[in-house]
């Protein structure tokens, strides 16, 4: 299976990238970085031009198609763009237009898998092989707004109340707490354009996590992780809650050290929860 890391996994979300490779190796999931991959266009391209927004992810899909294997995606924005593009390419005229633009063809259908789907299949193994590293840790799972939407396009879990991440968290030995903001928006790229908006939205999320008694937030989206982490740093809340990637939590449970998982790279220190164990 090829792995499409997207831009963030080697920049702001390096801990995510690193923990993904480690967890996958540990669980025997063979992943190879997609050769010659390019940016998915993320939030900018589709705001500018429709064909550009399709062409960027389409190029990556075409490469995966040529190589003939499934494609795992971790970032919610990348996943969303790839899925939406794949859906749009079902239309023959769009497909022809985009193929001409990128000078590649889409002969083979590529199975795009969200990292949660891939890890979900390994939940029994995680349960069997886990240590007590995160035993009883009270976490809330945060999917963000993109991973499960648009519902007819994504479709790997319930759009309003997904539960795949909770299953992983429980398999790792932690306690998943239900909360009402699993799929609310963190403010996304407003943290770049208009900080106040993103801060307000992220602060609401952190506040709610605190109210339901969470000791940690777990997410599968790099942008969400960034926003929630940054917002707390900025707001200097007395009750800061560390924000972990799901692969970091699973990594901890499977015995990897916090240093290897780059837990210290986050703004809100996960010290409390790691030392607790």
């Amino acid at each position: 299976m090829y792995f499409y890391p997207g831009c963030t996994l080697s920049s702001s979300a390096r801990p995510y990238g690193r923990s993904i490779y480690w967890v996958c190796e540990r669980l025997g999931i063979e992943i190879t970085e997609l050769p010659d991959w390019t940016c998915c266009g993320a939030t900018s391209a589709h705001a500018l031009k429709r064909d550009l927004a399709y062409a960027l992810p389409a190029r990556n899909l075409a490469i995966a198609g040529e190589l003939g294997d499934d494609l795992m995606v971790a970032c919610s924005a990348c996943y969303s763009r790839l899925k939406i593009t794949q859906k749009a390419l079902e239309d023959s005229r769009t497909r022809e237009r985009i193929a001409a633009l990128i000078e590649k063809s889409f002969d083979r259908h590529v199975q795009i898998k969200n990292i949660l789907e891939v890890l979900g299949e390994q939940a029994p193994r995680i349960r069997q092989e886990k240590t007590h590293a995160v035993e009883g840790l009270r976490v809330v799972c945060y999917y963000g707004c993109l991973a499960t939407r648009i519902p007819r396009v994504m479709g790997f879990d319930d759009r309003e109340n997904p539960t795949l991440m909770e299953r992983l968290v429980v398999a790792a030995g932690a306690t998943a707490i239900d909360w009402p903001m699993k799929t609310s928006c963190c403010g996304a790229s407003f943290s770049v354009i208009d900080e106040a908006i993103a801060l307000k939205m992220s602060a609401q999320l952190v506040e709610m996590a605190y109210r339901v008694g969470a000791e940690a937030l777990v997410t599968s989206c790099p942008f969400c992780q960034y926003n929630l982490d940054w917002a707390q740093w900025y707001l200097k809340k007395s009750h800061a809650i560390p924000v972990l990637f799901i692969t970091q939590l699973v990594g901890l449970a499977l015995g990897k050290s916090e240093r290897d998982l780059m837990l210290n790279a986050h703004l809100v220190s996960p010290e409390k929860i790691v030392c607790r164990v």
Binding site: P151, D158, R159, E160, N161, D178, W179, P180, M181, S184, M208, R211, V212
Partner: protein, 1010 residues
Amino acid sequence: MSGSEIKRGSVAVVGGGIGGIQTALDVADSGFYVYLVEDGPAIGGHMAQLDKTFPTNDCAMCMLSPKLVEVGRHPNVQILTLASVEALEGQPGDFQITIRQRPRYVDITRCIACGRCIASCVYQEPKFPSEFEMGLGKRKPIYIPFPQAVPLAAVVDPQTCIFFKSGRCPQNCLKACERAALDFSQTERIFTLDVGALVLAPGFEPYDARLVSEYGFGRYANVLTAPQFERLLSASGPTMGQVVRPSDGQAPKKIAFIQCVGSRDLRHQSYCSAVCCMYATKEAIVAKEHDHQIEPTIFYIDLRAYGKGFESLVRRARDEHRVRYVRSMISQVTEIPETKNLLVRYRDESGAFWEEEFDLVVLSVGMRPSAKGQELARKLGLELNEHGFAQTSAFDPVRSTRDGVFVTGAFTGPKDIPETVIQASAAAAAVTALLAPARGTCTHPKRYPAESIPDGAPRIGVFVCHCGSNIAGVIDVKAVAEYAKTLPGVVHAENVLYACSQDNLKHIKEVMCEKRLNRVVVASCTPRNLAALFQDTIREAGLNKFLFEMVNIREQCSWVHSDQPEQATEKAKSLVRMGVAKARQLKALSVQSVKIAPVALVVGGGLSGMVAALTLADSGFDVYLVERGAELGSDLAGRFSTLEGGDVQSLRAELCDAVRWHPKIHIYTNTTVTGISGFVGNFSAVLEGPNGQERIEHGVVVIASEALEYKPREYLYGQDRDVLTQRELEAHRETVTAKTIVMIQCVGRNAERPYCSRVCCGEALKNALALLEQDPNRRIYVLYREMISSGLMEDWYRRARERGVIFIRYDEQSPPSVRRENDRLWVSVHDTRLRQEILIQADLVVLSTGVVPDPYNEELSRLLKVPLDAHGFFVEAHIKLRPVDFASSGLFLCGGSHAPGAISELIAKAQAAAGRAAIVLAKKEFEAGGIVATVDPEKCTACLTCLRECPFGAVFINAQGLAEIEAVKCQGCGICAADCPAKAIQLGHFEDAQEVAMIEELFRERVSAL
């Protein structure tokens, strides 16, 4: 006539909701044998689960329960529960249907619903979600579906019963049953039935709120569906009518209703579910009546209050009950973790965003076609429409795509109760017309021995029922029977285990002969269910059926005083003493058999009148069709198509032809009814026409008066040639050249005429789409208050928006204005969404003016003594369950002057009215008299109180100048007897002397004890 030459006199009705029940009753009352096939363990359907019904907020069960009892006891209806139709062979008139009946594990002929089996079940507490309580209550594996269930018998659910799951169960229920009614060896039965026709009424299912996951149903404890909330409101529901939150049992203060859950939503169902605006309004009011602290808010898109009485209910909700309506579609509900309150975010009409906390959220889930119904359609080879509802034609709303198979109710699209009942009667009429030659061939008329006149002193027999342990477990029934023996006039008293069992009924008849009894008293349960059974029994023994009295020592004694057995026994004795006292005073009442003239008078020769006349004539009855105007079907003149594309002019031509050439229809045009007298079965009417006067004799009257388009005074109508009404536009649609067209809805709808005319939004959509079809470059604006595209009409509303019709909402308080300036028409309107004044230069302005009742109704109302409402529409006997009957027997109504409706709705209503009328005519004769009021001429002072009070028009002033009551019209309600200031009126079987004797008897013992 289609199909086989053989016509069978039996009919299968599939589905035991209100639609199926009404069809079964109508078909059976018309002289056919009915198999009522119900998938569940009891009939009643969704209506049984409702607390109240809109717009009158009457108790649903109180209306339904008598129907349940009636169909349960009907000699020509056989109810098959837990049964489904598997296959259909043959042809119309001669079908063979295959029925699969699942085992109940309880013999309903033996079970008396005493509940001992349930009490003894190994599950000490109810554990499984109750289907009837929508999961809010629990039941055991053996249970009675609901207290008023018909058949009233226990049922075993093999999915949850330990015996079926593991085989290891002590089967306490089996041992507890005193009637040996349980039988765990029952197996599935597959059998065939011969029937002439089928009516399918499988109904709907509420939309699964889980699928609309943004509202958190199933995830957040305090998010309920409206059907669940209905159970919370019900006094017999899981909380005994306490409105409490599931999370903490606390009384909620703020309740949010979210409309269109699963409806008007392309992710779910595109259509409007037609009933939710009104049921939410009803639930909000009823909740407030339960607890005045409650503050309900209804979040809606369009408020669709389009039926009879709906508008005034909404007004009452808003003004009197302070129900808050907020026009906003809700996109998300969030639970507050600490309080389990719910946060609703909305945008009000001023554009401001709000976040508001509610204690409870109720989701107004829509209707979807039931999975069972769709499976049934597949098995029977019926076509369904794109939404999964049964396909019918606009001009034949109850005919399916297979001959001889009729469809009714919510199976054909979202519907409320009256519409369902109308369709049920319409389907029954269609069936009886199809099978008319076979009428009476499968039914069993009952024959009785001659009646003996009781001679001499009363000889009373008293039968005191144990009802298993229901009564005997509390009351010392032996002592009651012994006590009864001591009462004057009693020659026989005994205990019986089950008074209602077949063997006991036989025993009663034997004792009556042996002891020469001339009065019978049964002390058992409520007379509501069984009095008729016992009356029938004594009649079979040759005694007048009114020489019977029933004493209720179960519901009103043993059940309510179960912890005071001694006092309960004393009370039972008192009740029996009173019953015996009344029995001593009972008189035989005579019923006379009145012949029915098998002829119908249909007043009004419009669409409804023609359909009604044809339906009656096809059922084999002569019809006088009387029309004031020169032409038949003039209400259809100038109308060309329906929204669905039906051709109105060919409909009119076909109907006119069929009516004209039907040998049983006698047409009188240019004719009015100038006088009418008589009573059901024997009316006599005077017709005045071009050929002078003619007197006709007939058995029933159908008023088929149509509504008229309102001719406006508003918006330059009549002054400007470019201002038309919708009907005028339709008549000239082909020649319209205008480019910019503005349609204004709700014209002339004001305080005097506040009701919604129901049809205008559909007409506007139809004409707008047709105009765009002619010329796609047109600009069409529709200025509306609320878009009433209810039910499947919603699809056309969507289509119109997709085609570019611009809909602008205006507020009732600031209507648009139209003026001509510089030879141009200008329409200005305040757009409530943009909050701006919009000025449109129009080539043509089309006014949707709605309908008004025919002013002639007033004369008909005087002539027939039938009531009109404040707006001039006729008032039916009961807005929910008798929508096409008048309160007075033998009079029926349909047409737009009953209530406005689209063509297909008017057709169904006309068929229904004709069907109801045909039931009367099919009987050939009826029994009159019995429990009726009579005037003592010696005491009458002709004060006219009774004449004014009688709701049935049974009182008249006779030649002597005194009040007299026509026995055939009297319904025995007793209003006149109670109100007569001179005490001149007595109601048979409830005479003053009889009632006073009971009261005296009650206090006699008390006084002597003191």
